[in-house]
């Protein structure tokens, strides 16, 4: 039973409660850094690390932290991890650090991180919180990769730096910039909603037909 619910905690972040496409939170980095697939991946990994670490720590300390000052406490914990990520990226992956720039420090105020801390980690055990953070982080990461791959493909004709369309491709500059991010995100959210609504309808139809068969 416990195992099954842990699995559920993990999976919910991947689709059902997908941070970018369903809950529409953490959109600042989603829109800003997804200019290339590599950026998206790096941002996703950095954020996942922060979510998991802070979820674990906050879950561990949930009984110690007084309710009145839980937000400042969460912010300090999250900021600590973010600063570590910031320094580590600067030290070992300077190219990515250059590209992500200000958006690494901004993970501190990412809704997903604080949202998971407030909504989940402060109420659940360590393992469940870690799994929840991992799921959300992976969901966020794949969301960013999808969005950034599409944008990179349209704006530069490549994915992960590999040329797909060849020399004759004329890049569509706008998709490399903020408006392009909004447009693509809109289409993806629409698609996700379309799939979800269709699935729901199918389930209901199935239920009705099951009932009529039973009758």
């Amino acid at each position: 039973m416990a195992k099954k619910s842990l699995f559920k905690e993990f999976v919910k972040g991947l689709w059902e409660e997908h941070p970018n496409f369903v809950m529409l939170i953490g959109l600042c980095p989603t829109l800003a850094v997804t200019t290339s697939a590599m950026n998206g991946l790096a941002m996703g990994i950095a954020t996942t690390f922060v979510i998991v670490c802070s979820s674990i720590l906050i879950s561990l300390m949930r009984k110690i932290i007084p309710d009145e000052v839980r937000l400042p406490s969460y912010i300090i914990i999250v900021a600590t991890f973010v600063t570590i990520v910031d320094l580590a990226l600067n030290a070992y992956f300077p190219e990515i650090y250059q590209l992500l720039g200000i958006f690494i420090p901004l993970i501190v105020v990412n809704c997903i991180v604080l949202g998971r801390a407030e909504a989940f980690a402060s109420r659940n055990g360590v393992i469940a919180s870690a799994i929840d953070g991992l799921g959300m982080g992976f969901g966020f990461t794949w969301g960013l990769i999808v969005l950034s791959s599409i944008r990179e493909l349209l704006a530069k004709g490549s994915i992960f730096g590999m040329t797909i369309f060849g020399e004759s491709f004329k890049p569509i500059q706008i998709f490399g910039q903020a408006p392009g991010a909004f447009i693509i995100l809109g289409f993806i959210v629409g698609l996700v909603n379309f799939i979800n609504i269709n699935a729901k309808r199918k389930r209901e139809l199935q239920k009705i037909s099951d009932r009529s068969q039973a009758a």
Binding site: I65, P66, D67, S73, I77, I84, L87, Y92, Q173, G176
Partner: protein, 328 residues
Amino acid sequence: MKKSNLLNIVLVLTIISLVSAAVLTLANDKFSPIIKARENDKLRIVAQKLLPEGAQITKVANYSDLASLVAEARKAAGLSPDWHWNPDAAPVEAAVPAEEEKVELDFSGFTFEESEDEEEVELDLSGFTFEENDEAEEIGTEEETVFTEDSEDLDTVDFSEETFSFGEEEEAVDFGDMFGDAFDFTGGEEEAPAEAPTEPAQEEVAPAFEVYQALENGKLAGVAVVAKAKGYHGDIVIMISFDGTLEKVVGMDVVQQTETAGLGSLITEEKFTKQFAGKPTGNPFETGKDIQGVAGATISSKGVAAALQNALKNLEQFLIDGTIKEGA
């Protein structure tokens, strides 16, 4: 929900802050040397690319050495030993003896008195001094406030007070250091007078002015200059290299920029940068005149042009500086 009293709240927050500070201090100790080393390397690598291959490339620490090398190279090429960027323009300040200079250009004198370890400070400050834009003045005032402890650095002052309110232990001090490094609140200036001899004061990612020289068999084969100017979004930092006589541009590269992707960022492309190779340094370096700007990125192109002009202006002053005319 349980009610907690004030003491408990303060205690928990203090402990969390202190632990966080300790962790970050450790992280900073581990990562910042790597970052610093890499930043130094970065400019060196660009310099290697722009200067003649096989030459011995070093950062210039002493302007008079470079000046005499330039004079030598120019004599060998049959040119007048003094190099001026633009002879037609108003002559740059006449050479003044070093003592007077101390009064006039306060901190160039100040730094040159210091020991050799201060290379960077020396270079940067002299660069700032001679710059003829606002930036130079800004730095100048900041430097003054360091001495007079004026209220200019309000941020810094506030912050240090805040630091002490966290706790009186040693860790609190570390906290301040750590934040200074990590977030650059202090910009490095504050620490300059306190521990100047050991640490380079300027922690900026890109220095406003820096010179590299390339020596081939003891002769000057090239000079590379780092310079900076405002672009559309932020600073554009370029490195431009000249031949030993400073008559010709050998190459140019953009070291750092944050221009609009796909437009302004095209200034980093070879298409744009290669046009500078071979240009005589007597050029005015203005877009539309002798620089072909990037289409759709006028301001970025102008930023590069301004950086080039800064590079030449700075280099001119750097070389003159009183000593070269006396020596020649």
